[in-house]
Symmetry: C2
Subunit: 357 residues, 2 copies
């Protein structure tokens, strides 16, 4: 039975990095005889430019029919002036919410070959391996009411709503506990329960769900302290679970600790395990089109996709081994190169991974 | 004319560190003949234990009458089970909001004597000197409606409101631009304007106010990117300005970059420049009562108070010089000591500063 993958290159460096990732996908598809078919569609700013919408109906239809989605990145200054309803980011948020991809898994791993690239001291980050589980379809990103209104005195006021109900918290809690079971069996839930009522409920439901997982240890930390602890001693964490907004901030900080944000894939899963896979980094408009972007996070996103959504563990292993091999060989794109050392281009990195497969 | 200072020791290590800071205040008060009178009052968990309220009416009345307030810290696990309306934090939030202390200035400075204490590599943090200007009386901390309600299906839902109006944004913008004028004339405003409407208004008003400060350069950064950039290259920033919640997270991360969060004071000012001064760190209940806490952040908060609210610049300079001297002498409390080296107690550190004055 054939499997369908929808490829969404998006904006900025998206198309360049996705091109290399698709070459890798094609290679394992034939060598492991996976029967994967893929097609592309528009999303983000490039979709807006072409169709007037950052998430055209045809893209959404294809996304719903796909077994998995591979996304590059969306957004860029070109579209910054647009109304929020048609900005590139709206395409991404629309996919997340329409496909109910509520569980965003963001690993922050230090690649031993790249230890030097971190801005943290080696003893602080050596061996770092954290997983951030971020709720992705609720919270302040989607809360109603929202907008900008004019007050009686003629002044404007902007407002957004941070909201979570029990079911939303319960399902992301389970995702975190399940993930922790495959790892070091520790979940740290991040909240601001000394100030925000919504996170009081969050904390309470985390406690409730933890009873279903007696083998996993649950702890709680305030978000401001979590931001500090990530800098001070990140290895204290195994799985961190948090809401959409805090997760956005903390996962980026955690990824950057490793010095290899150009290396980190992510998965956004729904209740059936179908998912969208994308690099943790953004569309990097400043280097778009120059052929210098690092395609490895996207290539590793293909590996995650094969493992989680396409039941092709061996192919996933092969890709990850190939990436490790090219790093061992010393190949570096500019973002992960030490100062003054030689770098390879986006497509040369793709070539090298293909050769190592 | 005598000046009135209200001292609020609070909870945890609060009383210990404030005790040392008051000794220093008394010393400069007499040597510089400042005519400062001070009295103490209860706030936080200790106030709740005594009176049933984390911010007793008498404390608020004294706070309103004071020229400046010196606060230790509030909160601790002892009060974690309490209803949010009487938690220790409510005392602090009540002071901020009742006194309209909207401008929270949080410097993140690397003390050259303590460079080793940072978890970041020396080349990343050497010479770090950022100022975070955090809006402190609005945003999601105070937004209405808020609470936990039961939905029709019997499930509960938690909700908070993130809200800012033009005046609130305008006044914190001016605080940031004014502060930048005294520094390197660069303001970076942090928002999430690709997702949250309230920060679209924030960004727009920052642009508007920047026209009043043609000598100061304004840039904008998304909050997730800001969290990354603080880890990657914090020295790119001069003044960062942001809302209450983002400021809570980013200022703690920034403070921790320096490795000397036990050294960092903060000021919370109202429109007339009256203010509350407190260390950036929290109540550290785990070490409370042991006499090992670092009093320097609180002592430096006294210096900030003298400079900003009590018109006693010389006394402020003297305190800062004394702190620098004890660091040069090699005195270290446990939090800033290198592994295995000798440490001094809270009161010994206080003694040393007094001797150095
Ligand atoms: C592009 C943006 C809407 C998105 C987010 O805030 O979720 C991005 O920062 C991310 O983390 O995937
Ligand atoms: C104690 C708490 C309410 C407070 C806050 O969140 O503002 C603290 O974290 C701070 O930053 O001063």
């Amino acid at each position: 039975m054939s499997k369908k993958v929808l490829v969404l290159p998006g904006d900025g460096i998206g198309p360049e990095i996705v091109e290399q990732a698709v070459r890798v996908l094609d290679a394992v598809n034939s060598s492991f005889d996976l029967g994967i078919e893929h097609e592309s569609a528009l999303v983000g700013g490039s979709a807006y430019d072409e169709t007037g919408s950052p998430l055209p109906e045809t893209t959404l239809t294809k996304a719903k029919a796909a077994d998995a989605i591979l996304l590059g990145a969306v957004g860029g200054p070109k579209w910054d002036g647009l109304d929020m309803s048609v900005r590139p980011e709206k395409g991404l948020l629309g996919l997340r919410s329409n496909l109910e991809l509520f569980a965003n898994l963001r690993p922050a791993i230090l690649y031993p070959q790249l230890a030097e690239a971190s801005s943290l001291k080696p003893e602080i980050v050596a061996g770092l391996d954290i997983l951030i589980v971020r709720e992705l379809t609720g919270g302040i990103y989607f809360g109603q009411p929202r907008g900008i209104r004019t007050l009686e005195n003629g002044e404007r006021e902007g407002f957004n709503t941070y909201v979570y109900n029990e079911s939303e918290i319960r399902r992301i809690a389970r995702s975190a506990f399940e993930a922790a079971r495959q790892r070091n069996k520790r979940v740290c839930s991040i909240d601001k329960s000394n100030v925000l009522e919504v996170t009081v409920l969050w904390k309470e439901i985390m406690e409730e769900v933890s009873k279903e997982y007696p083998d996993v240890e649950l702890s709680h930390m305030l978000v401001d302290n979590a931001a500090m602890q990530l800098v001070r001693a990140p290895k204290q964490f195994d799985v961190m679970v948090t809401g959409n907004m805090f997760g956005d901030i903390l996962s980026d900080a955690a990824a950057m600790l490793t010095g290899s944000i150009g290396m980190l894939p992510s998965a956004s899963l729904n209740a059936e395990g179908r998912g969208m896979y994308e690099p943790c980094h953004g569309s990097a408009p400043d280097i778009a089109g120059k052929g210098v972007a690092n395609p490895l996070a996207t290539i590793l996103s293909v590996a995650m996709m094969l493992r989680y959504s396409l039941d092709a563990k061996d192919a996933a292993d092969a890709i990850e081994a190939a990436v490790s091999k090219v790093l061992d060989q010393g190949l570096r794109t500019a973002d992960i190169a030490s100062q003054g050392s030689e770098t390879v281009s986006t497509s040369q990195m793709g070539d090298a991974v293909l050769a190592a497969l």
